[in-house]
């Protein structure tokens, strides 16, 4: 597909050395030229984009991405818990064959309610060769004591590209749980910005990815601790193979006044490709004394003892890599309470691994 928009997205909140080329991602994208098909199972409505109440919500990919969405004149999918104590909504989004499409989604979870939203991204053509471009922007507001479980997964074609943007605000004692599965496609740009505005609000992010061939996975996750005693965790697990490129930016930002807050960030990367590029920049920004923040990263190949374990069972390094890649995806799938979806993702990854390796 031809690209006519060049923009920078996924900017980290504080720049570092220019030569690292990690401060932001340069993206080439196509002007939105198609509407994507959306299947929704659950309470929802479609509204004019101009009537959104979430324009103040900051997302992870950043406002520069509006260069792509500015020509969009379709509707915004609006999901609201209304006053249901517990609700589930399933959203399947289908990109248009070899076209560029955009899907804005606003989620409002009202006081004391729990909402679970499953979102899966597919190619409408069901073809392995379609080079679709899909940009999905999900914004949310959680009122007091509300919980949003957001599960996002993509099972698109290899040549397709995805920008997956998330941004939201958590009010007092609300909880945002995000689980994302990125089993691999030509380009994945994902960003997430969460403002923990209310005291004792919480955000938990779990990501599993598999990047192979010449694929790109560029991530930017920012959790802003604003309210007192707010908590966050970011767990990122992934496998890189072949010539794959992955960049993970993870920021925990303790704003002044967020006393008593705690933030943890852990990343584990298994490098299976000799020519793969792994970049990681985990930031902790801290303007508050009474907080605890930490991050850790472990990057490397399969260690000797793991390889020996597999070898003793007649499993070679390549297959061991497949098992681990699948294991990382399945470990996150196990935390998702939807058998049909997790089976579909698992089968998708398994099929990819069999085809590729």
């Amino acid at each position: 597909m031809t690209t006519d928009i060049n923009t920078t997205i996924n900017r980290i909140p504080v720049n570092t050395y220019r030569w690292l080329k990690m401060n932001e991602a340069n993206v080439k994208w196509s002007t939105i030229n198609s509407e994507c098909k959306i299947d929704v199972d659950g309470n929802h409505s479609f509204v004019d984009a101009s009537s959104s109440h979430m324009d103040d919500v900051i997302s992870g990919v950043g406002t520069t991405c509006e260069a792509i969405s500015s020509t969009f004149n379709g509707k915004t999918l609006e999901l609201s818990s209304d006053n249901e104590k517990s609700s589930i909504v399933k959203v399947s989004i289908f990109s248009s064959n070899s076209k560029s499409s955009y899907c804005p989604i606003d989620v409002l979870v009202k006081t004391g309610c729990t909402m679970t939203v499953f979102m899966d991204y597919n190619c409408e053509s069901n073809s392995d060769d379609s080079d679709d471009m899909l940009y999905v922007k999900t914004r949310f507001i959680l009122e007091e004591n509300a919980t949003l479980n957001l599960i996002q997964s993509q099972v698109m074609s290899d040549p397709s590209s995805l920008i997956n943007d998330v941004g939201g605000i958590c009010n007092e004692k609300s909880v945002f749980n995000l689980k994302q599965l990125f089993p691999g496609q030509k380009q994945t740009y994902s960003g997430c910005n969460v403002d923990l505005l209310g005291k004792e609000s919480e955000a938990n992010v779990d990501i599993a990815y598999h990047v192979y061939s010449k694929q790109v996975n560029d991530m930017n996750y920012i959790i802003n601790h604003i309210g007192k005693n707010s908590n966050c965790s970011i767990n990122v697990n992934g496998v890189l193979r072949d010539d794959a490129y992955k960049l993970f930016r993870g920021t925990i930002d303790f704003k002044n006044g967020s006393s008593g807050s705690v933030g943890h960030e852990v990343e584990k990367v298994i490098l299976l490709g000799k020519d793969s590029v792994n970049k990681t920049i985990p930031l902790i920004l801290c303007a508050e004394e009474d907080v605890v923040g930490n991050h850790g990263a472990s990057i490397g190949r399969l260690d000797e003892s793991t390889l020996l374990y597999f070898a003793s069972r007649g499993i070679g390094e390549q297959e061991a890599g497949n098992i681990l890649a699948l294991g990382m995806i399945n470990a996150l799938c196990d935390k998702i309470n939807d058998e049909e979806l997790t089976h579909r993702i698992s089968s998708y990854v398994e099929r990819k691994l069999q085809n590729e390796y």
Binding site: T280, A287, E289, N294
Partner: protein
């Protein structure tokens, strides 16, 4: 209820004294071709060096300011005097150094340390060295420790030309280019093959002149199988205008050699410290950095190590203490470029009284660095909520047969630890100082005793006045 601690401003009287600038020669402020040519003439540069300076000036004029790091808006190079010389030549005997300058170094304890624990000393005052000496027995081993300017004209001239600003080229960044244009002073050290210098050499840099810059260049070559510990100290009196330090350190560590480079940086709090340090480490060699950053208004300081030889190693141990009015951006960089290399970056930072602290690092593993390991550990302590502490580590891994680990934490002094120490009779102030001293132990234990004591004194000064 959690108790709060107030921390008083620092008493820097030990370092904060100044001499009159009588009989000093200073160029006009700013940076022009004329000024660079005047410096070159003053220093009796060889032709290649004069040409190098002018090319660097050109690079400086073409290079953008960094778009990251602390603000340097308060620094206007047009107001900086790049060359200030006192009315004395470099001496080899303290008794020949003019009284006011000798008194300065006496108060800083340099001649005393030379007698007790150093193999040689270089003392720079503003833009020029005023004293350089090396113990006879060390010189007898063939160790060269002298000023760079005279070495350029002697036996080692070609060696200097071969190495000068090759590790840190003027194109590296704007202030490397500035350094290339106006550098003056610094030291040249050559340790021959197989020679072990058992006691350290030290260079001390004192910037006395108001509104001036110091641009010393340190070039150390440790040849195959040799070893050296080099200590660098620096200080300046405080003025109400900006001073600038844009030094450059280039270290070449030969096969099987070992170099430890220790720094206690205590510039005054009007100083912009935009210093560049870099080492290249050959096969089976080891580079150790020990770095204490206490002074400056603003710092950009990230010693870089290039592990170019198989089995080469690097350790960086650092502490940064940012107080009122300080924005200290420090850390380390390492590039693994050969098989089975290893690096360990271990830092502590403390922020108090509105001080801004940033730990910034990069670890890169290039193709061909199979079997290498890197580990980064940074811990930050926040002593109040008007301060700030940021951690910005970056990793760029392009080889799959490597192991990279990273951990970082930010937090405050635990109330339980204070309570425990107070229950054993310590005041809260002493308890806090003891915990902070313990927190900094990674650096102090790596320093020679005298310097560890000096560092602990600095921390005690910084902590003085903590009350419950």
């Amino acid at each position: 209820m959690k108790e709060k601690s107030n921390v008083n401003d620092v008493d820097r009287s030990l370092y904060d004294f100044r001499n009159d600038e009588k009989e000093t020669y200073r160029l006009n402020s700013g940076l022009t071709k004329d000024i660079v040519e005047q410096i070159s003439t003053e220093k009796n540069d060889p032709d290649w060096m004069k040409e190098f300076r002018l090319k660097s000036l050109d690079v400086y004029n073409r290079t953008e300011m960094p778009n990251w790091g602390p603000s340097i808006e308060g620094l206007d190079v047009d107001n900086i005097v790049t060359y200030v010389r006192s009315n004395t030549k470099m001496k080899g005997d303290w008794s020949e150094v003019p009284d006011d300058i000798k008194d300065t170094f006496d108060r800083l304890g340099i001649p005393d340390a030379e007698k007790k624990s150093l193999a040689g000393v270089g003392a720079q005052y503003d833009s020029e060295l005023v004293y350089h000496n090396i113990r006879e027995e060390v010189a007898a081993l063939g160790v060269i420790y002298t000023d760079l300017e005279s070495a350029m004209w002697g036996e080692y001239g070609e060696m200097i030309r071969e190495h000068f600003m090759k590790l840190v080229p003027p194109t590296d960044h704007k202030f490397a280019a500035l350094h290339g244009a106006v550098w003056s002073g610094g030291s040249f050290v050559y340790v021959p093959k197989g020679v072990s210098v058992d006691i350290p050499l030290q260079s001390y840099f004192r910037l006395n002149a108001k509104g001036a810059g110091q641009f010393e260049h340190t070039l150390i070559i440790v040849d195959e199988g040799a070893s050296l510990h080099f200590i660098e100290g620096c200080s300046a009196p405080k003025y109400n205008v900006a001073n600038l330090h844009a030094g450059c350190v280039e270290l070449f560590v030969g096969k099987n050699a070992k170099l430890r480079y220790s720094t206690i940086e205590n510039w005054s709090k009007n100083m912009y410290n935009l210093n560049t340090k870099r080492a290249i480490v050959s096969e089976n060699a080891k580079m150790e950095w020990v770095s204490g950053s206490f002074g400056s208004h603003t710092s950009f300081l990230y010693p870089m190590t290039i592990l170019s030889g198989e089995n080469s190693k690097m350790e960086f141990t650092g502490i940064t203490f940012a107080g009122k009015g300080q924005d200290l951006d420090t850390g380390a960089k390492v590039s693994h470029q050969a098989k089975n290399t290893s690096s360990f970056i271990n830092t502590r930072s403390i922020s108090k009284d509105g001080g801004l602290n940033t730990f910034r690092s990069s670890v890169s593993m290039t193709k061909g660095s199979e079997g290498s390991t890197a580990s980064v550990s940074c811990q930050s302590l926040m002593l109040d909520s008007i301060s700030r502490s940021d951690t910005i580590p970056a990793m760029d891994i392009r080889c799959n047969d490597v192991t990279v680990g990273h951990e970082a934490s930010i937090g405050r002094i635990s109330d339980d630890a204070i309570f425990y120490l107070m229950s054993r009779g310590l005041s809260e102030e002493d308890a806090r100082a003891m915990i902070v001293n313990g927190f900094c132990d990674n650096v102090s234990k790596e320093l020679p005793l005298e310097y560890a004591v000096e560092m602990n004194n600095l921390i005690r000064l910084e902590m003085k006045g903590a009350i419950g």
